[in-house]
């Protein structure tokens, strides 16, 4: 990234009050969080295919023994699911993350608020569905749609991502508004 133009830089008077950049938390630590648990949580959230304890240890930057302990704990919490036995491999449990968000929605919002949010997100979803004129964003190929409609790939990507996001929000809100949720109860007792 470019340096600031000279006329934007401080003058001599201001320079006396320069901030102490070196006193800030190092960026490596800032983006990684300060607990071992964060490192392992980040590592399993980043999994896009089944991984062994060794893989996870490497991703987290900690030892294999610690990785086994955390994977064991995460599995009991439902954060990961074990995919194979020998060697043992694990994958991220997206269902858990959705469940956790649904629980938060129920705790933090009243039913009327959830209904309002659902109305807003449903409207966005409908608008985007009309715009693309198909039932699901999975039916759209970004590059083909862009060339057919004479729009840029970025524009289509942005609109399509907005649609995927609105759909995800609607699904979460609908679940939060469903009072009876079998899987939720099961997961809750497991934590």
């Amino acid at each position: 990234m470019d340096e600031p133009r000279d006329e934007l830089k401080v003058d001599a008077d201001e320079r006396a009050e320069a901030p102490d950049f070196d006193a800030l938390t190092p960026l490596e630590d800032l983006v990684r969080g300060d607990r071992t648990r964060d490192d392992f949580f980040d590592a399993v959230l980043a999994l896009d295919s089944p991984a062994t304890a060794t893989d996870v240890a490497e991703l987290a930057g900690h030892g294999v023994d610690a990785a086994r302990e955390y994977l064991d704990w995460f599995e009991r919490m439902g954060i990961v699911t074990q995919v194979t036995e020998s060697p043992a491999t694990y994958e991220r449990n997206q269902e858990y993350l959705s469940w956790r968000r649904v629980q938060k929605l129920r705790q933090e919002y009243a039913t009327e608020e959830l209904l309002d949010l659902l109305k807003t997100e449903s409207k966005r979803e409908e608008t985007l569905e009309r715009e693309f004129n198909v039932k699901s964003p999975d039916e759209i190929s970004i590059s083909r749609y862009a060339s057919e409609t004479d729009r840029t790939i970025e524009e289509v990507w942005e609109r399509l991502s907005a649609w995927q996001t609105a759909r995800r929000r609607v699904a979460l809100l609908e679940r939060a508004l469903t009072t009876e949720s079998g899987d939720g109860a099961d997961l809750q007792s497991a934590v």
């Binding site: 470019d2 934007l8 401080v10 201001e14 901030p19 006193a23 800030l24 983006v31 970025e154 991502s161």
Partner: protein
Amino acid sequence: MSGGDENTSDPFHGAPIDFDRLDTIRERFAADDRFKRIADQPAFAPERLVCVYDQRFYPERVRAARLEVVWFENGDFSLHYHEEHESGEFDHRWDRHPSGHNTRDHVHPGPDAPTPGDDTSHPADWRDVLSMVLSEIEDRQRAFWEE
């Protein structure tokens, strides 16, 4: 633009915003001295984090500076740094997403983040992307104070 095959990697259909990753980033940034505040809208499932830098890192001619963070479940992202000056603005964007004129990884460099941008390659780990971006911003901040 031909809708060519340069962006054949998954998925073709876009992906929802990764709310959990944004939550994690917000938690880590909220307590840091670099930022005055972290805002997200809507809070129940954020679509971007607006990370407002503390004013003490800038001379008075720079009125405000922020980094906007958007991340998707398939690993795509758009990180947008913005400064407001007494006269004018500065914008710089680090992106990973399908594009008709750049590779998936690209930057739209300052001062005005033009399209098309420059092809580049960003780190694979999202945390490395984030620390790279914050470090570039910090280099610029430090430069304000140099002769």
